[in-house]
């Protein structure tokens, strides 16, 4: 089934999107938490600020009130180590007692990097010394030995992308591994459903995760097969019934036609009686056509008439039909005119010769049946590259636009499942349509330029 790869693509797409979305969400969440938990300005800035604010006056060192207030607010303390003596020369009042008052160079390096007796320390450069700012022990965590290999930092973006990609691939592999089993059990089911829709009988093993589904599909298949078998039997029975009736009618009709045909030409009968016999011949001939048509229409409708397609010369076929008519069936009231271009002597199509003959013959008979007072019938064949166009038309009474529309569009009673009051009767054109459909061709009904009725058949080569 074509939709399975589509389904998988969609799943993979959704998953990739979810991963990207999750990464973005996590980064945002982390950023928000980071920002929330960080004071409005860094302690290093605070130290620089305090160092700049420390003034040496006559009365000693003093810190402006607002800086002092900020330090108090943070519970921080400050001291100033003199550049020359490395003694503490000034400190805030809240300096813890265990803070040394004398510093060596290594002490200064240590506190700059980290802590003074466990208090996180930050330094700022004052005029005469180093201002040290100390915060409560649980206020900051300092990374005392922060240094990375240069290449590590340089390759960081590349490595991040690689790691991210590996993650994605890993996740997909896990997905594929987990789902392949499920897909394996889905595949026979999708195949089964596809076969069901093509009318092929389905039987699947009822085991695995989706055994219940398989069981239901098996059951559906059984029901469908049963129904189509019943339908086929009904159709066969109907076609056989029609064939049987038409067979049984043939022998009595032979008697009627035979005797009426003899009487028609009898020298012992009066002219009126001969005419009556001729009418019987004519009407029984129509009944014969009707029986033939009914039988063929039902067989075509129920696919019981296999088409034997061969390369045939359409011109030769139509010529034969016309000549058959001229030799037997019609009088002078219905001249048939062959108006095909003389230079065209062959137009080969893939066709069932007998059925195509029947179609053409039905069209000519149609013109004869509908024009009591006679009409000329025109037959032509055109070779249009990939198709063969056969045209049968007459200069008879023709049909109204409405009738033509109905012929083109209204279903015939034989193939319609609603009431038959509104539908078309007469089997001639129905058979033509069925036969042309069997040849993958098209049929168009129209007005003829000669004034009557026109039927165009287009048959692919």
């Amino acid at each position: 089934m074509k939709s399975v790869p589509k389904l998988i693509r969609r799943f993979v797409g959704i998953m990739t999107l979810s991963i990207i979305l999750l990464v973005i969400l996590n980064i945002t969440f982390f950023a928000i938490v980071f920002v929330r938990n960080t004071s409005t300005f860094s302690p290093w800035d605070m130290a620089d600020h305090a160092a700049a604010a420390l003034q040496l006056t006559d009365g000693g060192y003093s810190l402006s009130d607002n800086v002092m207030a900020k330090l108090k607010e943070e519970n921080a303390w400050a001291l100033l180590i003199d550049n020359d003596t490395r003694q503490v020369v000034w400190q805030t009042d809240n300096l813890p007692a265990n803070i040394p008052m004398q510093y060596t160079l290594s002490d200064v390096a240590e506190l700059t990097r980290g802590y003074v007796n466990g208090y996180p320390a930050f330094t700022g450069e004052a005029q005469t010394g180093l201002l040290v700012l100390g915060y409560p022990k649980d206020r900051f965590w300092k990374h005392t030995r922060a240094s990375w290999d240069y290449n590590f930092i340089a390759d960081l973006p590349k490595n991040t992308i690689i790691i991210f990609a590996i993650n994605i691939v890993l996740i997909l592999l896990i997905y594929a591994a987990v789902n392949s089993k499920l897909l394996r059990s889905i595949k026979p089911i999708t195949n089964g459903i596809q076969n069901l829709s093509n009318g092929i009988p389905v039987y699947m093993k009822e085991k695995g995760v989706l055994s219940e589904l398989a069981e239901k599909i098996n059951k559906t298949s059984e029901i469908l097969q049963m129904q189509s078998e019943q339908l086929r039997r009904k159709e066969t029975a109907r076609a056989n019934w029609i064939a049987g009736v038409s067979h049984d009618v043939r022998t009595p009709l032979s008697m009627i036609m035979g005797y009426a045909g003899q009487l028609e030409n009898s020298k012992n009968l009066s002219e009126i009686e001969c005419k009556k016999a001729a009418a019987i011949v004519k009407q029984s001939s129509r009944m014969k056509d009707l029986i033939n048509d009914l039988n063929l229409a039902s067989k075509l409708e129920y696919d019981m008439q296999p088409l034997t397609m061969k390369q045939e010369n359409a011109i030769s076929i139509i010529r034969q039909v016309i000549v058959d008519f001229m030799n037997t069936n019609i009088d002078d009231k219905f001249p048939i005119k062959w108006i095909t271009n003389d230079t065209l002597s062959a137009c080969y199509i893939n066709a069932d010769k007998d059925l195509l003959k029947r179609a053409i013959s039905n069209l000519i008979q149609n013109s004869i049946n509908h024009n009591e007072n006679g009409c000329a019938i025109y037959a032509s064949v055109c070779d249009n590259n990939n198709t063969c166009k056969i045209c049968i038309e007459d200069n008879g009474i023709g049909a109204s636009d409405e009738q033509i529309d109905r012929l083109n569009n209204t279903p015939h009673y034989m193939i319609c499942d609603t009431n038959t009051a509104e539908q078309r009767h007469g089997l001639g054109l129905l058979i033509v349509k069925q036969i042309i459909k069997g040849h993958n061709g098209e049929i168009f009904i129209d007005h003829s330029e000669y004034g009557g009725f026109k039927v165009v058949l287009i048959i692919p080569k």
């Binding site: 036609m257 035979g258 045909g261 062959a346």
Partner: protein, 234 residues
């Protein structure tokens, strides 16, 4: 022309329906056939065939004690003569196609008397052509057995192709034979492309059979469709 010799042919007619048998018999007799025997089943048909040695058999396909095809095989053992089938089954169409079974022609019921008579005459003409007297045309006579035309007491020989074409036209005398059917009669199964040759042969035939070949009266053209041979007499 005189086709009386054909009307003397012995015909065996087999059908299980008495009324149909009577009707076909009356059609044949009314037309002039003088030797028609009937039978209602295979057994009677075999007896009748032995007695009367038919020269044409008209058989129904469905018979009470067998079928027409089996009967045909048995009849053919007794002598090689033409068989025409009558059938009420359209389905038999396929069986007859190409007359592979050895049948010469078939008619699907119901049929008009003239159709039956035409088929019977066509088969007889074809099968007993060698015995026929001269075929009379308006301006000449054809002698198929010698393959020549007799015009104004002059004997003009026919070529093989001309003979084939005239035979095909004569079998369908009075009817149009299509260009395609004539080409097939002269050149076989793949007749495409012989239209011009056909026209040339027709012209030569006309020169032999017509008094005035530019205004033919016996071999007439039906434009675009075919030709028709008109014989004198019946």
């Amino acid at each position: 022309m005189n086709e009386d010799y054909l009307l003397n042919k012995r015909i065996l007619l087999v059908d299980d329906e008495q009324e149909l048998l009577d009707m076909v018999l009356s059609i044949l007799i009314e037309y002039g056939f003088q030797n028609v025997k009937t039978a209602k089943n295979v057994k009677e048909a075999m007896e009748q065939a032995e007695k009367s040695r038919p020269e044409l058999a008209i058989l129904d396909v469905m018979l009470p004690d067998g079928n027409g095809f089996e009967l045909m095989e048995q009849l053919k053992k007794g002598g090689d003569y033409p068989i025409l089938f009558l059938t009420a089954c359209e389905e038999d169409n396929d069986k007859f196609k190409g007359f592979g079974l050895g049948a010469d022609d078939y008619i699907i019921k119901p049929f008009l008397p003239k159709e039956l008579l035409f088929r019977v005459m066509a088969i007889l003409r074809r099968s007993y052509k060698g015995e026929d007297p001269l075929v009379c045309l308006h301006d000449s006579q054809i002698d198929f057995s010698r393959a020549e035309v007799i015009k104004n007491d002059e004997h003009i020989p026919l070529t093989a192709k001309e003979h084939d074409l005239l035979s095909a036209l004569y079998r369908n005398a009075g009817r149009i034979v299509t260009i395609d059917a004539l080409c097939e009669a002269a050149w076989g199964d793949n007749p495409f492309g012989y239209e011009n040759s056909l026209m040339a042969h027709i012209r030569r035939i006309r020169e032999k059979i017509e008094q005035n070949p530019s205004h033919p009266v016996s071999l007439v053209t039906v434009k675009g469709l075919g030709y028709k041979l008109i014989i004198e007499g019946k």
